[in-house]
Symmetry: C2
Subunit: 345 residues, 2 copies
Amino acid sequence: MPKRRRVTIADVAARVGLTSITVSRALNRPELVKPETRSRIEAAASELGYVPNAFARGLKHSESRLIGFVTASVDNPFYAEMIKAVSRHAKRHNYAILLFDTDGEPWLEAKAIETLLSYQAAGIILSPVSDEPHYRPAYVERLRNSDVAVVQLDRTLADAGFSAVVLDNAWAGECAARHLLQRVFAETDAVFERRATDLLVVAGPERSRITQERLAGVRKALARRTSTTALSLDIVWGDYTLAPARERVSEHIESRGMPGAIFGLNQLITLGALQAMKAHGIAPDTLSVVSVDRLPYLDIFDIHVPCVVHDGFHAGQRALEMLLERIAEPELAPQTETVRGVLIE
Amino acid sequence: MPKRRRVTIADVAARVGLTSITVSRALNRPELVKPETRSRIEAAASELGYVPNAFARGLKHSESRLIGFVTASVDNPFYAEMIKAVSRHAKRHNYAILLFDTDGEPWLEAKAIETLLSYQAAGIILSPVSDEPHYRPAYVERLRNSDVAVVQLDRTLADAGFSAVVLDNAWAGECAARHLLQRVFAETDAVFERRATDLLVVAGPERSRITQERLAGVRKALARRTSTTALSLDIVWGDYTLAPARERVSEHIESRGMPGAIFGLNQLITLGALQAMKAHGIAPDTLSVVSVDRLPYLDIFDIHVPCVVHDGFHAGQRALEMLLERIAEPELAPQTETVRGVLIE
DNA sequence: CTGTTAGCGCTTTCAT
DNA sequence: ATGAAAGCGCTAACAG
């Protein structure tokens, strides 16, 4: 069976002996068409299998019902959660999601933005490949001059001037560090075993804003400590993925021995650190580990890694809501919303 | 600063004193334009911030470089892996991904297909909300009459006649069951403790094809058993998510006691079963559990749940490749490719 | 190598 | 309540 030519409103119109404009109206502004005509048209449309052409419509209005989601890692569970939230709320408002996984490549990110502009995306939710201050992609200027709404999610570009939904990273760092100070490095009732490194923080990229904010939280908690014996703090850098975290922690254990405690700045980092510990025969319950982001399902096995958990679903939902507001009201001032996590022991 | 009107090829043309068609050619078929003209045009285009209008182009060609990915659960890690693969390979061929999370709702699935048709999607990768035989969505007929390529992934519609990439479910079931027969219900060297239920299979929906295939594999392995003492097999049904699995297993333990072994038909089901065990104070190492799909990262904690693992990345990649072949060659016969898993102990 | 014309499918005037 | 004409931005087909 040969594929039929696409059915257009003109075909539907011919079928009922009217013109295309009436069909268009019947389908989009039914109140402008006599009810009886309307139902004849609707019958004919569904009989012929009419499907509106989104391109023709988009070309006419120069606007689309497309929202772009740009991220470096769809497979990161935290992002998957946010995608789920965005997608669920987008379709409620009749928007479809164009998903771009940039794989951490700036040029793919630039291409994704380009594509979104060419599709006249109504809005973009952007989580760039990097949040380091020197990362200033050329597309920012273009985005500013276009009428696409932009909301950044989690990771942000320095001074780009877009709205954002971010996590309260300083608080997460402080919270996690305070937990360790109470449980491991308590000043009053216990003498903890001193090591070459008391606290090992396994971080993301050294210049990443998120990493720096979380570290600032850690330092703030440490500074509050009143004890005379200063804690030694070491930091190893990675890129928010598992493998580098594992390698850096391995090296650190080999050169400086087992630390007093480990703080992994996100889920994958902490898992990498735990892998390194295992490789060196260090059982998880002999060394305190704390994390940002929950390590999934471990509670089933009575493994409890305390963590500061953020509600990704809520963050995604807020990002989409802010985006919709800005699509409706393009002149709204940029706004940043902060999502605070909660410590789970 | 007011948002500027969109820059078109006509604007670029005016800037360099040519007509739009020449600009169009310079940008799409550079070899048809004098190199010097071309570079003047390119300069002007980038200076003015020209962005091609995908809608106009799509309207002209009545085709798009859009591929739809329709799934019931973006947040299922196995699907996230497949999305990653599809996305990565799609962008290599200059396709963008329209992502639809149907949340398990047939009407959202229908709407997703409708939207994809209206965007003239070149192809659709479809993993429906259900693979039960009585689920025969109305859009199938439309899809068949359109010229969109369709490849089903993992879940398939009965008799829809589309190509598919599926898992070797019978083999997965057989493999997992054989493992239990060797390790728990060995006939030769050990006497295993008999229970009211020897093997408890925690399944998906009773009529799901995937569930039935995996069960057939289990039965095949059991039938091969030569021992005179028949094993008792119980099955509880769920929907491939965690909570129902947990509830059904809890109920089963309460009414029939602890089984001899548990087989969870996918990752989330197995995790649910493990939660139920924990709630009843059954330690994971006192009851043999086997699963389809890997339980992530548990090896770090020396928890080893044997599982039949499928390569989701490969499945996603193959689905996209098949789709591209069919976009290029619309008359290709439907084809089904099976991905076989491997048992990891 | 570059230009003219025409049309993709739809909708916004402005009639009737 | 319905229709005619025009145009959104781009690119075949056919000139020149």
